[in-house]
Symmetry: C2
Subunit: 243 residues, 2 copies
């Protein structure tokens, strides 16, 4: 077959997957992924062979998947959320040329920007920007520039990777930048463990977000100037009621 599927699993469990993602995994002989995501699906597909590599070994993991496909297996490389948003699909495309005969198919999934929005309410009814606060692969100056531009243009902002052990104060720094243009009363939300055990949401002001504790299982939403709280939900009205 020489086929590699790059599959977004969506949030959490089996029901967050698309039918097409399930089909791709079922058609595959071997599932490759980061250890934590493999554990999420091993029980759902117990008859598959699994190969995993730890975090920060992305290049090894992608080569393992491509090499296994080149040897004639049908392979699914799985990612949480969507494989195309800060995921593995780019690296697969970059390295594909080194494995002649292998074809690649990306199966999109529900990324945290969408699944987090759904449990917080409806924050994305208007234009939005998605920014990762991880500076492992991006200079912090570039992240700063994007935060400032997004805030100045009144985008709803969704932050991926808002914190890690080494980057405890990054969310604080990001909020300081957004506060140059946005009110401290701006409605914000935190979605944690989306679609998994311990799922939790919190709605708070930008002033409060600045000093909030978040972790790597959290996705953060900063509303635009029109975002409000309606029945305890974070909602950015699209304007249908005011035409």
């Amino acid at each position: 077959m020489h086929k590699l599927y790059v599959v977004g699993l969506g949030p959490g469990g089996a029901d967050g997957m698309t039918v097409r993602a399930k089909d791709a995994i079922e058609k595959s002989d071997v599932i490759v992924g980061y250890t934590v995501y493999i554990d999420l699906i091993r029980d759902l597909f117990p008859d598959k062979a699994y190969l995993s590599t730890p975090m920060r070994k992305e290049v090894d993991r992608v080569r393992l998947a491509l090499q296994t496909a080149a040897e004639g297996k049908t392979v699914a490389m799985v990612c949480s959320g969507d494989a195309g948003v800060y995921g593995m699909s780019g690296l697969c495309e970059e390295l594909l040329g080194e494995y002649p005969g292998v074809t690649l198919e990306t199966v999109p999934g529900v990324s945290a920007v969408l699944s987090g929005a759904a449990i917080l309410g409806a924050p994305l009814m208007h234009d939005f920007a998605v920014i990762s606060l991880s500076d492992l692969l991006t200079p912090w100056e570039k992240i700063e520039k994007r935060l400032l531009s997004a805030a100045e243009a009144d985008f709803v902002i969704c932050l991926y990777n808002p914190a890690s052990h080494k980057r405890r104060d990054y969310l604080n720094r990001a909020c300081e930048l957004v506060l140059r243009y946005a009110s401290p009363e701006t409605v914000c939300g935190i979605a944690r463990n989306i679609g998994r055990e311990g799922e939790k949401t919190r709605i708070l002001t930008l002033g409060e977000l600045k000093d909030a504790e978040v972790d790597m299982f959290s996705t953060v939403f900063i509303g635009n100037s029109e975002t409000r709280i309606i029945n305890g939900k974070m909602v950015t009205p699209r304007g249908y009621l005011y035409e």
Copy 2:
């Protein structure tokens, strides 16, 4: 039950839906939606009752769904892609308070920004901005400001609603604005009829995109300064190979 599900159908056919979206529709007595989306799923769930309203009747449609739920039916309001991205979930949240006893659950789906990216390659490996070019509910000046800010900060940009009969030159105007900061050689992509019959992609430069013909079934991607064409795909490298 007094329950309203707001369900994102994902792109096109049945296999783009999540398992949870299918379950929500199966649990519902009545499906409410815009005529075109209803036609997409009527064959999949032939035993359901369907209620539809034409385009631009969003407030009527949401009230119909909430009223039907208030009368004791379990209702699914369906949207293409994700209900939370320029979809109906915001209006449902806004009007929910007028229908006591009805509970709302938003089931996220794969929006065109994700499904379009997957067929074009991997354009979203880096921070991105999603902007609708429709000025039905948003002043054009605000859209202009967002285009300029996103381009200046080197976001990958995804454009929803890039054209309509009345707005034939909007994509041209948007490209002119982006060109103030981005090279005319910037890699761009158009995804049309994603996940449906007639699915098509085109990769082109920003200079070419300026004069391209697009329609309301198209989603447009403008790369950032690092986006390139790899094996005919639009890829924004995340940087793993250059650490």
